[in-house]
């Protein structure tokens, strides 16, 4: 009968030992005990306790400040300590909006790995420090960002005009003039001017003020700025929101035509996936077999930009041949697409504009529109692209094409697209381009092609005559290889296309068939080739008549 007593004793001792061990590990072996234990203020050591930042409206309960104790409300840690250091000054006070709002991670956790979110089952790990600016995208939606070259030019203008002398921007400048803050001569900090909305009219007031100023420094330090430079300044200042790297990243996004395939917010193409929340992808749901390094979302995105198809099985996205620097910027931008649902009082102005008023999220000058949307298919120089496995995209800057294509034809094509082809109706869609924006794009395209204007065409839109049956035979033998049976489209554009046929002129068709289209595989059928004879004008016209007849079908 003693075995039951032994059972009782051994089990009880086991329970006792384990409970004691649990008690010790819980009460004396937490990492934050050590960190807080070695942190000191001018008044001596701090008391050991859990600290947190709570903001019920933002649904934030962040215990990060238990270890990062220097960032806790009212703590002034003096010991030189990395973990316990104070937060560097930022636009938003961490003690009010919390830590996870910007940095991600698991605010409720009190242990490092859990808190940083580097554990299974936490969908939102911390943003890597190098992509920290992506966090602004949690609430902000920077508007009016042009493409990278434009932004770079504008920034150079700002620098060239020596604005940094009086003005401070992202912690730089504003210190070169005598007097400093004391006499009130230093210009205002422009770091967040874009959020408030930069007023271009301000320049006139600025000029007047400098005239009336009594201090000579005012007069001498302010030169006149010409109209073009003022435009540049506006472009630059409109984008300033205290996150230079994010703006640069977004400008990069606007430079390689991503919006041509992808929708962000309320605007973009639909060939690719909607990217609006791609910064919130759960790393646990991604395939990391091809990804080097840690299984983080940023590493995955980087690898995806290097080789989309091998990272996501079945992805249609071509390898764009981006440089590592471009990839870095695009990764930052992708990570910034993490728009969180916010209570109204926390919504920043830019976000309200983008969300409630459907404002497009990039600048609407011709160049930016072209680089942000068109360039992915038609190429940065407009000479077309061809990605393996996808339909080739035609050149649109050949002089022969630009001569034949009237502004109206281009306008209709861009506005209404080519149904069933990759070309989307860019004007006729939610938040699509307005007429003046379309004209700006056309002007930019003509500029890319060397400023070739359309030749005036005195003929009516439809003038060609001929026998459609003859045209059909000729079409079948000469054209259908590329343009598809009955012009349904294959590698070449679809001709049996209502939008195309309603805007194209016979002159365009006849001349294109006769002379071909440079930069594409469309050859001039007016000349013979080694494998076929040349087509006569009458034959070409009969083909055009046949093409016209396709619209009836």
């Amino acid at each position: 009968m003693n075995k039951n007593k032994y059972l009782l004793m051994v089990s009880s001792i086991g329970v006792f030992v384990l409970l004691a061990a649990a008690a010790v590990s819980e009460n004396f072996m937490k990492d934050w005990h050590d960190i807080q234990g070695s942190a000191k203020t001018t008044e001596g050591p701090i008391d050991l306790r859990l600290r947190q930042i709570v903001n019920p409206q933002l649904k934030v309960t962040d215990r990060c400040v238990t270890c990062h104790v220097g960032m806790a409300s009212g703590e002034q840690i003096t010991t030189d300590q990395k973990v316990g250091a104070a937060h560097k000054p930022v636009a938003h006070s961490p003690t009010e909006i919390g830590c996870t709002t910007c940095h991600g991670g698991q605010g409720q956790a009190t242990e490092k790995d859990d808190a940083h979110g580097n554990v299974h089952f936490w969908t939102e790990p911390m943003l890597p420090a190098r992509y920290a600016y992506a966090s602004c995208g949690t609430c902000h939606t920077p508007l009016n960002v042009p493409n990278l070259p434009t932004l770079e030019n504008a920034r150079k203008t700002f620098e060239r005009l020596d604005c940094y002398a009086c003005h401070r921007l992202d912690g730089r400048g504003g210190t070169l003039r005598p007097g400093g803050n004391v006499t009130g001569m230093e210009g205002p900090d422009l770091s967040h001017i874009g959020l408030k909305g930069y007023n271009a009219e301000w320049y006139v007031a600025h000029l007047q003020k400098s005239q009336q100023a009594t201090d000579p420094a005012w007069k001498t330090s302010f030169r006149e700025v010409n109209e073009a430079d003022r435009e540049e300044l506006k472009i630059f200042l409109d984008t300033q929101m205290g996150a230079p790297k994010l703006i640069e990243a977004k400008a990069q996004f606007n430079s390689v035509g991503c919006a041509g395939c992808h929708t962000v917010g309320s605007f973009g193409g639909d060939a690719g996936v909607n990217l609006s929340l791609s910064g919130y992808k759960d790393p646990n749901q991604l395939n990391f077999t091809k990804v080097q390094g840690d299984h983080t979302l940023s590493n995955w995105i980087v690898q995806h930009f290097r080789s989309p198809a091998s990272t996501v099985a079945g992805s249609q996205m071509p390898a764009l041949g981006l440089s590592e620097n471009q990839i870095d910027l695009l990764t930052l931008y992708t990570l910034s697409l993490r728009r969180r649902t916010l209570p109204d009082i926390f919504l920043p102005k830019d976000r309200v504009k983008a969300m409630r008023f459907g404002e497009r999220e990039f600048a609407s000058n011709g160049e930016t529109i072209y680089t942000a949307v068109c360039s992915s298919c038609h190429g940065a120089n407009g000479r077309g692209t061809r990605f393996p496995g996808l339909v080739p995209n035609p050149s649109i800057t050949g002089p022969d094409f630009l001569q034949l294509a009237s502004d109206d034809f281009l306008f209709q094509t861009i506005r209404n697209g080519r149904p069933s082809r990759p070309m989307l109706p860019w004007g006729d869609r939610v938040n699509g381009f307005k007429d003046d924006e379309l004209r700006a794009v056309i002007a930019y395209i003509r500029g890319l092609g060397g400023d070739v204007q359309a030749q005036p065409d005195a003929k009516p839109q439809i003038w060609a005559t001929g026998d459609a049956a003859v045209g059909a035979t000729l079409f079948a033998s000469n054209c259908s290889g590329c343009h598809g049976k009955n012009g349904a489209g294959a590698d070449g554009p679809a001709l049996a296309n209502k939008v195309f046929l309603s805007s194209v002129s016979d002159t365009f068709l006849v001349e294109t068939i006769r002379r071909g289209r440079s930069g594409t595989v469309m050859q001039g059928f007016g000349n013979p080739s080694p494998i076929r004879r040349e087509l006569t004008q009458a034959e070409i016209e009969s083909i055009v008549v046949f093409i016209r007849s396709l619209s009836a079908k």
């Binding site: 009968m1 089990s11 329970v15 384990l18 649990a22 395939n287």
Partner: protein, 515 residues
């Protein structure tokens, strides 16, 4: 009136001083439990202990008799009860908030994480112990007259235990919970498969009704959470406690544990060690508290070969209690209770798996929702409940694997049970089933002819063969119970380890790949 010449004030002072001593003595009605007599009165005078008999047969105290599984189940229940009440200090049954409260329990509640781990592990220990306890009662044929009804109650306890465990599964409100309960609720809805096939869903939607009563809504949401919470902390624990009270009471009333007819001889050697209380044949039984139904081990025969329950039985019970605690604490120490991502009704887990003890069910549900989720389980559950009324033989009561066929039959049944379930599964996995071959086959065919029903039929056929071979209903019961137990194990293991995304077969979870 003050006695002994003391002044009343002095006596008051003496009384005040003697309070601890008097309280201690008042606790034990017959005085402190120091002699056999006072020990007896300690037991039947104590509300918590009086369900025990005063003396316990040595056979019952053998480890091999019960393996302490009943006590272990009770102990696990007590542990979940205490830790559960503690968790209720912080748990908030509302979607999303519930998840955050679990996170708080994990991170900032002193001992919270440990308590939750213990709660979770004790719940699992309880499920395992109750299944093993049932198997023990079955294999020792302890369900026979007069214990039929107690087997019934035990059956109710099994179902209630599973219900408790299942309802607790939703409370953390993480992905695991959300999708497991979604599946569970849809299993409840599976009678629709039949009503749909018969075209009577519009009039008699039993499945839909069951699901709606369970969830209180058309999906797993806040209504479901509050219902599951109510069931988990209130209705089911109360039901369990009541059933337990009846279960224990009936053990006592039915004459203690089932013993073989020759139990006294079997323990004769051990009995020599003990001081005999009743060397002469007693004129009445030692059952002081109740008049016991005629034929028990004690009535009319000398209560020899028994030992005082206090302390021998209590050492055994406390020993098992602490052993169970130790198991739970060890498990809690080495393994945290899982908590996945916050429940997201838009992103299903793939694979979404039910709690492990329902994975066998989920495996046959993957063949037919109705037969897997309702038909076969009902058959098992009803069959289990009716065992004592179908097997009314006497041979082998109280012995392990007692009855015609015995251990040899059980061995063969294990082989058949494993072979048939693995065979049917392998066939279905490699060759597919009816719909792969005849895409247009009516659903009613698949409902009634699927791997689950085929397996059930094989087991039934084998058991009928056993009944005929041994000319014994007990043999049939042994065969059938063993087969189903093996089938349960095989299906559960397959469901747990070999089913991956889209419920496809995988040799290892590492082959699941990304999404």
């Amino acid at each position: 009136m003050a006695a002994d010449g003391y002044s009343a004030l002095h006596e008051f002072w003496l009384n005040l001083r003697a309070i601890p001593n008097h309280v201690y003595r008042a606790m034990f009605r017959g005085g402190p439990p120091k002699t056999d007599r006072t020990r007896s009165s300690f037991i039947f005078g104590n509300v918590f202990l009086h369900l025990h008999s005063v003396r316990t047969h040595l056979w019952s105290l053998r480890w091999s008799t019960t393996m302490g599984l009943g006590i272990m189940t009770t102990a696990a229940f007590l542990i979940t009860l205490i830790t559960g009440i503690l968790l209720m200090f912080y748990y908030k049954p509302y979607p999303d908030v519930a998840y955050q409260s679990i996170k708080d329990i994990h991170f900032i509640v002193p001992t919270g994480r440990f308590m939750r781990n213990i709660h979770r592990w004790a719940a699992n220990v309880m499920v395992i112990a109750v299944i093993l306890h049932m198997a023990r009662a079955f294999y020792t044929a302890s369900y026979r007259k007069p214990r039929e009804f107690n087997w019934f109650i035990g059956w109710g306890l099994l179902v209630t235990t599973l219900g408790l465990s299942f309802t607790g599964y939703l409370l953390p409100w993480d992905q695991l919970a959300y999708w497991a309960i979604t599946i569970g609720a849809n299993i409840a809805q599976s009678p629709r498969e039949i009503t749909d096939a018969l075209g009577i869903t519009a009039w008699a939607d039993i499945g839909g009704l069951q699901r709606e009563i369970l969830l209180g809504s058309d999906k797993v949401g806040e209504e479901a959470l509050i219902r599951f919470y109510l069931l988990h902390v209130m209705i089911l624990p109360l039901a369990l406690v009541m059933l337990m009270a009846v279960h224990f009471w009936r053990i006592r009333k039915d004459g203690g544990l089932a013993k073989p007819a020759n139990a006294d001889e079997l323990v004769a050697e051990e009995a020599k060690e003990f001081y005999p209380v009743f060397t002469d044949v007693p004129t009445k039984t030692y059952h002081l508290a109740a008049v016991v139904k005629g034929k028990t081990a004690a009535v009319g025969s000398g209560p020899e070969h028994t030992v005082p329950s206090m302390p021998h039985l209590f050492y055994a019970e406390l020993g098992v209690l602490m052993l169970t605690t130790l198991i739970c604490v060890v498990l809690a120490f080495v393994s945290d209770a899982p908590l996945k991502e916050l429940a997201n009704p838009l992103v299903p887990e793939n694979p979404a798996k039910a709690p492990w003890y329902f994975l066998g069910l989920q495996e046959i549900v993957s063949f037919s929702a109705f037969m897997g989720g309702i038909g076969i389980p009902m058959l098992c559950v009803i069959g289990l409940g009716l065992i004592p009324f179908l097997d009314r033989e006497k041979e082998g009561t109280g012995e392990w694997f007692g009855g015609p066929g015995g251990w040899k039959l059980v061995k063969w049944s294990v082989v058949v049970g494993f072979a048939a379930s693995i065979g049917v599964e392998a066939f279905a996995i490699y060759f597919g089933w009816l719909r792969e071959w005849f895409p247009d086959i009516p659903q009613l065919f698949i409902t009634f002819i699927n791997p689950g029903t085929v397996l059930t039929a094989i087991y039934a056929a084998y058991s009928i063969w056993a009944v005929r071979k041994y000319n014994s209903t007990r043999a049939g019961a042994l065969a059938l119970f063993t087969c189903f137990l093996c089938g349960f194990i095989v299906l559960t293991v397959i469901g747990t380890y070999f089913r991956g995304p889209n419920w496809d077969f995988f040799w290892s979870p590492s082959d699941w790949g990304g999404h």
